[in-house]
Amino acid sequence: MSELSELYQQVILDHNKKPRNFHKLEAANRSAEGYNPLCGDQLTVYMQLEDEVVKDISFEGSGCAISKAAASMMTQSVKGKSKAEAETLFDEFHRMVTGELDEEAVPNHLGRLTIFSGVRDFPARVKCASLSWHTMHAALHGEETVSTE
């Protein structure tokens, strides 16, 4: 069960139960919808982007513990960041969960997001962890929908 407890760490379970920034954002000037058509996960990311800075960000939707916790922590990490910084986080997170980035060996900006590193041992769940990040990325670039197909 060691890989399993690596996947379902307390922090992840906590964010699943009490997701942060889990609401519609009235001041949003960007939003994007993300779908995982294979499993039916669906979420909307709302973003208030001003002067190339993510002033505020939130999400709504339904999904598994991994996708909900990932979305919750994504909003916390990206809030207040510049567009370029958000891009870097997106890239590093994506590479970490797909096993392309060894977060312990290579300097990075992921911080507590590294608790999602265990996802790479569960290939079927990588999309759950990355859906909100792809959706955030789409919102950042003014796209309206993204699918993890």
Binding site: E3, D41, A65
Partner: protein, 422 residues
């Protein structure tokens, strides 16, 4: 089936002795492996069932000794391949009790079968203002092709609603049938809920209005006796890989009088009588619907799977599965926090459930760590999920090689899921 059920109810303890499940399990090499250090518990049979050694052997014998293209050569191997392929068709004919083997068209699976009927029947006979009836518990394969047809023709898709238990509302069905109805396309057994629909009665009702009925038999062919003469359906589709045969095998049964009048499905070799650049005439049944080289090895495997089902005793297998489902339903529904989705009176093989506060994907991952394979998701039946207001379910689906011990393992693993998320 009913009489067997009565016997089971009276003496449930006799079932395991009647059905030597450990002996049957030896026929399936895949079942003896371990997954994540635990014995594999394969409960995803509604998605795809496992293949017995005799079917594997038959397929590899074909590939080793008989492989060639069918219906084309006068040489030895082509004749061997053709004989084996057409032999499989004869087995299918007997298995579903068709009047004639030419009514059994080989396709890749149930999805391709429904698409064949949509193209061949639907595009020929459905016109603007017509109606197509499906049910609220269909697999996407029996929704999307009809939706595409309706969009193309300006026809209307009507849906038979269902109760909270997952039973179709037959009064509503009667009211939907009218002179504009061109076809009823209906699941025999729901893949998401396990409901066995009262299809014989529903077919008779449709026929009173002169409306043909397509049965999606993907879930019924592996678990019930399916008799075309008794059911009197106009079309029936099945997937080989859900009934212990390889993927790529499947059947569309159609009454000859419909198949003769229908458009071909795909154009190409083997489905023609004569071809010139001015005009092509089509082959007779069943070749008219089988363009190109089919999955010969897989269809021969389907024939072998049908032989295998005959050899183990179909009725006892069905009775055992029924008993196993009752056992699992009682065991799993007794766990606090678990809700069964689909509680119809007549069910087969499928146990869909949700756990309060836990998403089915998380259930699936934790169960997998215990070596248990279940399906977690919408089961290609998103309207069913919407009807029951759940994003997804976890689904354990059984075959005659599953055991009560495996059900106990499942129950313990579900308790573990609840523990992790408590």
């Amino acid at each position: 089936m009913i009489s067997t059920d009565n016997i089971l109810v009276e003496t449930p303890e006799t079932v395991d002795t009647l059905w030597d499940v450990e002996r049957v399990r030896e026929d399936f090499p895949v079942l003896s492996q371990t997954v994540n250090g635990k014995p594999l518990v394969y409960l995803d049979n509604a998605a795809s069932s496992q293949v017995p050694q005799v079917v594997i052997d038959r397929g590899s014998k074909y590939l080793r000794e008989e492989h060639s293209n069918i219906h084309r050569g006068v040489h030895y191997l082509s004749m061997k391949a053709t004989t084996a392929y057409e032999g499989a068709r004869e087995k299918v004919k007997r298995f579903i009790n068709a009047r004639d083997s030419k009514e059994c068209i080989f396709v890749r699976g149930a999805t391709e079968g429904i698409n064949l009927v949509m193209h061949g029947y639907g595009r020929k006979f459905v016109t603007e203002g017509d109606e197509v009836i499906v049910s609220a518990m269909e697999h996407h394969a029996n929704i999307v092709p009809w939706q595409m047809l309706c969009e193309e023709k300006g026809a209307r898709l009507r849906v038979i609603p269902m109760s909270d238990a997952g039973e179709l509302l037959l009064d509503e069905y009667d009211a939907l049938l009218n002179e504009r109805t061109k076809i009823v396309a209906l699941a025999h057994i729901s893949n998401a809920l396990g409901t066995i629909n009262p299809v014989k009665e529903m077919i008779a009702t449709a026929h009173k209005h002169g409306v043909p009925v397509l049965l999606d038999g993907a879930q019924s062919a592996p678990h019930l006796a399916v008799d075309m003469q008794d059911l009197d359906c106009d079309f029936f589709v099945l997937s080989g890989h859900k009934m212990f045969a390889p993927t790529g095998s499947g059947v569309v049964y159609g009454k000859a009088e419909w198949l003769e009048r229908m458009n071909p499905f795909q154009g190409g070799g083997d489905m023609i009588r004569t071809v010139t650049f001015e005009k092509t005439t089509y082959a007779g049944l069943p070749n008219k619907f089988e363009a190109g080289t089919p999955a010969i090895a897989s269809q021969i495997g389907l024939g072998a799977a049908i032989d295998y089902l005959g050899s183990i005793g179909r009725e006892r297998a069905v009775a055992y599965e029924h008993e196993l489902l009752s056992y699992a339903t009682a065991k799993i529904s007794a766990i606090e926090g678990v809700r069964i989705i689909g509680t119809a009176r007549e069910k087969a093989s499928v146990l869909s459930f949700v756990i309060e506060g836990v998403h089915p994907h998380d259930i699936g991952t934790i169960l997998d760590q215990e070596g248990i394979a279940v399906r977690a998701g919408h089961h290609c039946a998103q309207p069913v999920m919407q009807r029951f207001k759940v994003p997804a379910t976890a689904r354990a689906s059984f075959a005659f090689y599953n055991t009560k011990v495996e059900v106990d393992t499942l129950a313990r693993a579900i308790e573990r899921v609840i523990e992790v998320f408590s």
